[in-house]
């Protein structure tokens, strides 16, 4: 086990810079998730830790040792790939033992570790099988087993759940969580799925276009998004964002097309400023006098309804309980409380804390 430190890490392909100076410290035993849309540089960052990509600038150290110029095998990391990358011609046992055999561990020790990992992952009955005789979930577990037997300083996960179906994904997510609680190995986990990120992370890094937009616990990131990007990326459906201007007395917000939104609490100090107002769909409720919208459609999801409405020239989504949806086409009054309001600066897209 070890901590991983990123110090102004940059990656440039030719003239194309994909990672712009990431600085971060992953504590010993911590589970950190890198989340962001495709092409944001999160996988590249992970592959730089593994040693599969060269580090253009800055340093990465694992357990206090700078690994920039070390071969992957000398970095003491184990990686789980999206497509599992199991060796198709080897049995499950040999897949897990391969790295240990190369390290010339004694046979008895290899046997012990593989059997132990197989027990943890419930793979005991499958050790003699070939990967193609396994289901997707089992293959995924073998890939994790291959990482576990190495007893590495750090686990690197590169979207390990993307190839599983929805049900299995939820189940495996929980298993990964349990596994981490049990092994306490420093883990870096890359995903584009914000639900995965929220549920697994002790801390998460939201990345966009090669930059870390926000680093924090899932709760911090959700309740106090640092930028409009984080606000719309984390949370599903995304946060409603309206550009506009606060009225001079701070009692109302005037959206770009002139629609008024009554604010639940006066914000005198922001009076007259050009801002972006953000409210999460789950913080809006039917009834109240803050704004009125025309309902377009209602998505019935069982435990909740998503009301899509036309408002201020753009759309607005309200997430409500299952019983109270207005008919499409009707007008609905909407309210929200002072804590639900997020303010962002339109020029910098940064959060404004009151």
């Amino acid at each position: 086990m070890a901590k991983i430190e990123f110090n102004d890490v940059r990656k440039v392909y030719g003239t194309n810079q994909v990672v712009h100076g990431i600085t971060l410290e992953v504590a010993d035993g911590e589970f950190v998730v890198l989340v962001g849309p495709s092409g944001c540089g999160k996988s590249t960052l992970l592959r730089m830790v593994a040693g599969l990509e060269e580090i253009t600038g800055g340093t990465i150290s694992i357990g206090g040792r700078v690994v920039n110029d070390l071969e992957p095998k000398d970095r003491d990391c184990a990686m789980v790939f999206q497509n599992y990358a199991l060796y198709p011609h080897m049995s499950v046992y040999d897949n897990m033992a391969y790295g240990l055999k190369i390290r010339k561990l004694p046979k008895a020790e290899i046997d012990r570790r593989v059997n132990e990992a197989a027990a943890i992952l419930e793979l005991e009955g499958f050790l003699a099988r070939k990967p193609r005789q396994l289901s997707g979930g089992q293959r995924q577990r073998v890939a994790m087993g291959r990482a576990i037997v190495r007893e590495p300083a750090a686990f690197l996960f590169d979207e390990p759940l993307s190839n599983l179906d929805a049900k299995l994904r939820v189940q495996t997510r929980l298993e990964i969580q349990k596994l981490h609680r049990r092994l306490r190995t420093t883990s870096l986990y890359v995903t584009h799925d914000q639900v995965e990120a929220m549920t697994l992370a002790q801390r998460m890094i939201v990345m966009n276009a090669g930059r870390a937009e926000q680093v924090g616990t899932p709760d911090e990131v959700y309740s106090r998004p640092a930028t409009t990007f984080v606000a719309s990326f984390i949370g599903s459906p995304p946060m409603n964002l309206f550009p506009g201007r606060v009225s001079p007395d701070g009692q109302a917000f005037v959206a770009a097309d002139g629609t008024r939104i009554g604010l639940p609490e006066s914000v005198k100090q922001l009076g007259g400023r050009e801002l972006i107002l953000g409210v999460r769909p789950e913080n809006l409720h039917l009834g109240g006098d803050n704004l009125a919208v025309q309902v377009e459609t209602v998505e019935v999801l069982g435990a909740e309804h998503l009301i899509h409405a036309k408002f201020a020239g753009t759309g607005l989504i309200v997430r409500t309980g299952p019983h109270s949806s207005p008919a499409p086409g009707s007008m609905a009054p909407i309210g929200f409380s002072p804590e639900a309001v997020h303010w962002f600066d339109p020029a910098t897209q940064q959060r404004i804390n009151l």
Partner: protein, 282 residues
Amino acid sequence: MVEKRRWLDVLSYAIVIAGILLVAFPVYLAFVASTQTAEAVEASPMSLIPGDLLIENYRKVLFEGGDVGSRAPVGRMMFVSLTMAVGIAVGKIIISLLSAFAIVYFRFPLKYFFFWMIFITLMLPVEVRITPTYEVMSDLGLLNTFPGLIMPLIASATATFLFRQFFLTVPDELAEAARIDGAGPIRFFVTILVPLSVTNIAAMFVIQFIYGWNQYLWPLLITTSEDMYPIVIGIKRMIGGGDAANEWNLVMATAILAMIPPAIVVLLMQRWFIKGLVETEK
């Protein structure tokens, strides 16, 4: 498509049977001829029922050779052919696997130049470069030797290209996983890439064995002594020119013998070959 028409079945069977007869009849004729006396073969029409000299004729060609034209025993020729064919097939596979490995998995200066050099030799068959190759082999003193027979035919752009295409379908993550597991390039090649290529190697072996077995022009140039003749040349040499009566029965026996090893290779490797085509898992 479900078709239930009797006449269509009859027609398709008729075509298939006609095709088989067309291919099989000459082989049968050769076999029948190889079991008779030379005079019986010359008779017109030749009997289509096998004679009683099966063992006698084959024993004679295998261990003594014919009396007209070349007198080398066919047993030795088969040994020469077999060594040459296996040597060419194995050599080609090893060289092509290694060069495909280099081209696909390594970054080195002039990589694409080398790739295209190999690719361009596809356009240069043995016949085109045969004179300079002969010159080189004779300077090296390799005339009438197995290395001389085998080496010039080993380099193969086709096989290199085929293995390259296969390696490109192997997911990159496999190589990356092996690197993280601590496997160096050679270990990755031997323990992962080659086992994955087994079915392709089998297919290549079949094709290249037959290619090697059927070599005619190159052995014709480079071998001058009878004990280095491969069987394909042996057959030609047994047919004396001019007025001499040919021992067609022995020639046919040799031809049948020449057909057997490639047939065995195809039959034995067929299972792997088909497996390679059917298996989708990479």
